[in-house]
């Protein structure tokens, strides 16, 4: 079951969902609108090898906006710290953002119960697009799970800012 906006607000009050900072006006019928922070992370490698630490660069978006180049990948992050020990999260672009040709995740919309942190977004524009720090870019949904809960204890726990891939740790573990 997906939570209604009313239930999201109520579960925040009961500390079973965290959205920090929380703006009541950002609550939708089935989701909460989150904002984008002012930093982007871009890969500098010509070829990305998942076994190696990637070379990245942090870019600060000015208040006057920043132009994303078409068909280029940018990592961004939510301004909000979000998570829940009780509900499974998924996130999506706001419709108004997708309608400008912008993906905010690349088929990776599912989060984990127990994750708490800022969320890294994969921005991928279909056309050159100027975006602004602090704009409401996406929405998070919460789903009631079935079964005993074991909390997330993964490599991105507690992230802040746009976090580069840590896929290399998946190789080391073997």
């Amino acid at each position: 079951m997906i939570l209604t906006g009313h239930e999201i607000t109520s579960e925040i009050a009961h500390r079973r969902i965290v959205i920090r900072p929380f703006l009541p006006e950002n609550v939708n019928p089935n989701s909460y609108n989150f904002r984008v922070g002012n930093t982007l992370r871009v890969y500098r490698d010509q070829v990305i090898d998942p076994r190696c630490r990637p070379d990245t660069e942090l870019v600060t978006m000015p208040d006057g906006g920043y132009i994303l180049q078409a068909h280029r990948l940018y990592l961004a992050s939510t301004l909000e710290v979000m998570g829940s020990d009780y509900y499974a999260p998924t996130f999506a672009a706001r419709s108004s953002v997708a309608r400008l040709g912008l993906f905010i995740n690349l088929s990776a919309s599912l989060g984990d119960i127990g994750y708490l942190g800022q969320w890294t977004l994969q921005l991928f524009p279909a056309t050159n697009l100027r975006i602004y720090p602090g704009m409401e870019i996406g929405q998070i949904m919460w789903w009631k799970p079935l079964g005993e809960i074991k909390l997330y204890d993964g490599k991105y726990q507690g992230s802040s800012g746009p976090c580069a891939t840590r896929i290399r740790h998946d190789f080391v573990a073997r």
Partner: protein, 179 residues
């Protein structure tokens, strides 16, 4: 919980789900088949701005079809009015459509409870593809909700055709313009 196809059909009869037109043969085990409507918007520039009106050129999708080009970005519409006053919904491409390299939405699958509209689709293609009005492109699924229901009253309510982004109407940009 996701609704079964049988429950979707029951919802259409009972009036808490709208699928118009509704074709019983299009009911799937846990979704309903969605078709492509006849109007497209073609992004008419190589530069958009989140706080400006996006220039989009209207195109009518005739029965002879239209070739979509990779690297371009289009908005399309569903052939149906879709939504529910009781359930939330999500949209997916069919396996068949995805298998020819076409996207239906750009990381935005959610339909809010109360949004009973002709859906706008975000379209791109991995290679040149001909599209036809009425072709089956997607599947809509419906989800039971937990908590007191809230009805969508957003900016795309009452959409009867494809609508370009109205992001510029956000509070943030409104404040910037009036400053």
């Amino acid at each position: 919980m996701i609704l079964t196809g049988h429950r979707i059909a029951t919802g259409v009869s009972a009036g808490d789900i709208t699928i118009d037109p509704f074709i019983p043969e299009y009911v799937e085990p846990n979704s309903y088949r969605v078709t492509l409507g006849s109007r497209l918007l073609d992004c008419a520039t190589d530069m958009l701005d989140a706080r400006s009106v996006p220039p989009m050129a209207p195109r009518v999708l005739a029965d002879v079809g239209r070739v979509l080009e990779p690297g371009r970005f289009y908005l399309g519409e569903t052939g149906e009015i879709l939504g529910s006053t009781r359930f939330a919904s999500t949209l997916y491409a069919t396996r068949s459509l995805a298998s020819i390299g076409m996207w239906l939405h750009f990381s935005a699958p959610l339909g809010h409870t109360g949004a009973v509209i002709r859906w706008t689709l975000e379209i791109r293609v991995a290679q040149r593809i001909v599209v036809y009005p009425g072709m089956i492109i997607g599947k809509i699924a419906f989800w039971h909700t937990q908590g007191k229901p809230v009805r969508y009253r957003g900016r795309y309510q009452d959409s009867t055709t494809v609508r370009r982004s109205a992001l510029r109407d956000d509070r943030l940009f409104h404040r910037a313009r009036t400053r």
